[in-house]
């Protein structure tokens, strides 16, 4: 066996709701570069899976990435014809449903039937797993109404599926970087305790996992960080070598920008201790990592080290968490700020007893401040001429929470002069509790969708 020296992994989504036209330029660049290549989509933030579980309660066939079709339709044929494999967590709460959708899409596009593998083992929401969660969470599960419970799986089931010939691997909850580690593990045939190489591939995956955040998206700051082509950002491609080191780049001619600074920002994103970035696959250490610009939009990451993975896997349990009520109204012109502040005082009096009320003056102070209002209270009253009042509260009971939108709406006739543009919203909230479970208590694996399964889905 003589594996190619470089594996290219392109990432065409960093969250559920990312641009759906990102994949095609990435796939074209992967094909033009030649050699083995994988396309990943990361579409599963912490709460996305709970929302998917709620969708599945309504419709047993739903519960996977709602934009799956839009994400895959433009590139599925190209990937199958060119041997670009696809790995994603877009299965969310229903990986099998997503796989069947892809099989249908392939038929609709007159493509041959792809070999689709479904990774299982992350979903702990069933009755048999309740004891495991009770054990791990102690009293924290008591009284909760769980919506979803998922373990963060690692790269091994993905790698096994690819080694078994999968062209598309559909996952639910896996650690984001594992979407890249799995293909690297399969391609290079590393030992599964080769901690340094696993850690390097993990940090390559970490650089990819937020999509365009490494290639100039979420980075631009006029006059300080001027980024060309934000409307047409190129999504990132990692070129991973046999030792796991990587170069981050993007499709030629695409918008955005990759330099040492944009890579450093993403490298540290959501990292706590840089010497111990914990994933299911490895403990990655970027304490002595370096980045180096090799050319335009090409940056090399070097020096990542790895340590043995921990004996546990992280589990997130999402549960019903009451209601969030919000309301807004605008004031403009002379004494606008004073009128907005007065409206806030009126609402505080009207909603007394419902629990803490947050008051924001959008245009004056609305984001840096704390929910308790210490920040706003410390600002001297000003004379802003265009202010939008926003109020918000949490309540366990829907009926109680509904009082906020009613009171904000009533400001049309009962509030200060000239208030306009009332908008209100009432939303169910989801909470999360996390715990660690012994690794051996989770049975991760994969299975192929059979032609009969796919046929039944027609």
């Amino acid at each position: 066996m003589n594996p190619e020296p470089i594996l290219r992994i392109g990432c065409a989504a960093g969250f559920s709701g990312d641009r759906t036209d990102a994949a095609l330029p990435v796939v074209r660049a992967l094909i033009a570069a030649g050699g083995p290549a994988v396309l990943i989509f990361e579409t599963l933030a912490e709460r996305t899976l709970a929302l998917a579980q709620l969708a599945r309660r309504q419709d047993p066939d739903a519960g996977y990435e709602p934009l799956l079709d839009e994400l895959l339709r433009p590139v599925l044929g190209l990937c199958l014809r060119s041997g670009v494999r696809i790995v994603s967590n877009f299965g969310a709460a229903n990986p099998r449903g997503a796989a069947l959708h892809i099989a249908r899409l392939a038929r609709e596009l007159d493509l041959r039937a792809p070999r689709i593998a479904v990774v299982h083992g992350d979903d702990l929401s069933g009755p048999p797993q309740r004891a495991l969660l009770d054990d791990a969470l102690g009293g924290a599960m008591r009284g909760l109404k769980p919506v979803s419970a998922n373990a963060y799986l690692g790269a091994e089931a993905i790698a096994d599926a690819l080694l078994a010939g999968a062209e598309i691997v559909v996952c639910g909850r896996v650690a984001d970087p594992s979407l890249a580690v799995g293909p690297a593990l399969a391609h290079f045939g590393w030992a599964r305790d080769d901690w340094d190489r696993l850690a390097r591939a993990t940090m390559a995956g970490h650089l990819l996992e937020c999509g365009a955040q490494v290639s100039g998206g979420y980075y631009a700051d006029p006059g300080f960080k001027d980024i060309p082509g934000l409307a047409h950002l190129g999504y990132p491609i990692a070129e991973i070598d046999a030792d796991g080191h990587c170069v981050i780049t993007k499709p030629p001619g695409s918008g955005g920008h990759i330099d040492e600074h944009s890579v450093k920002e993403q490298l540290l994103y959501e990292v706590h201790d840089p010497a111990a970035y914990l994933t299911p696959d490895v403990v990655a250490d970027i304490g002595s990592a370096t980045v180096r610009q090799l050319g335009p939009d090409r940056v090399q990451l070097h020096g990542v080290r790895g340590h043995a993975r921990t004996g546990t896997l992280k589990v997130n349990v999402c549960h019903e968490n009451g209601w969030l009520a919000e309301g807004e109204i605008s004031y403009a012109g002379p004494r606008a700020e004073a009128r907005a502040r007065l409206a806030g005082e009126v609402l505080r009096e009207r909603l007394q007893g419902l629990g803490p009320l947050r008051i924001d003056l959008i245009g004056v102070a609305s984001v840096f401040g704390d929910d308790a209002g210490r920040w706003l209270a410390a600002r001297p009253e000003g004379d802003a001429h265009d202010v939008r009042l926003r109020v918000a509260l949490n309540h366990d009971e829907r009926a109680a929470a509904e009082r906020l939108p009613r009171e904000v709406t009533a400001l049309y006739t009962c509030g200060p002069a000239g208030g306009g543009g009332v908008r209100t919203a009432l939303r169910a909230r989801l909470g999360t509790v996390s715990c660690l479970v012994p690794r051996e208590s989770i049975a991760a694996g994969f299975e192929f969708i059979t032609p009969a399964d796919a046929g039944a889905a027609a």
Binding site: Y218, F224, E270, V271, G287, A289, V367, F368, D370, A392
Partner: protein, 119 residues
């Protein structure tokens, strides 16, 4: 004897916020290696805790990455419960790097050539 300037941190560094639960992390990355020692000296855990005092951090931890001329601040319990519980419009605290970047930094005038943008 050199003269000193005071500038906002955003002229000397850039950064990004991330969140996990009720914990925020904010990276601070020097625009130029020559500015790095000043950041290490002046951007202490105490200075950052003061800038976020209204959010009542239970702990502020600074991790240094000298080879990247970067540091990572971890602020515990500053997100009013985090994305699931906070009433803030920005329940992730995504904007908080820009609050940190408003801290004033003193530097010798001869290092001003390495600053980004203008005040």
């Amino acid at each position: 004897m050199s003269t000193y300037l005071e500038v906002p941190l955003y002229r000397a560094a850039h950064g990004r916020t991330g969140d996990k639960g009720n914990r925020s992390n904010i990276s601070v990355i020097a625009w130029h290696p020559a500015l790095w020692p000043l950041l290490v000296e002046q951007l202490t855990e105490a200075a950052v805790a003061r800038q976020f005092a209204h959010r009542r951090p239970s702990r502020v931890t600074r991790h240094l990455l000298p080879q990247l001329q970067a540091m990572n601040f971890v602020l515990d319990d500053v997100l009013d419960g985090g994305v699931n519980d906070a009433l803030n419009l920005d329940s992730h605290g995504k904007a908080l790097s820009f609050l940190l970047l408003e801290l004033p930094i003193k530097l010798p005038a001869e290092l001003a050539v390495h600053l980004a943008g203008s005040d």
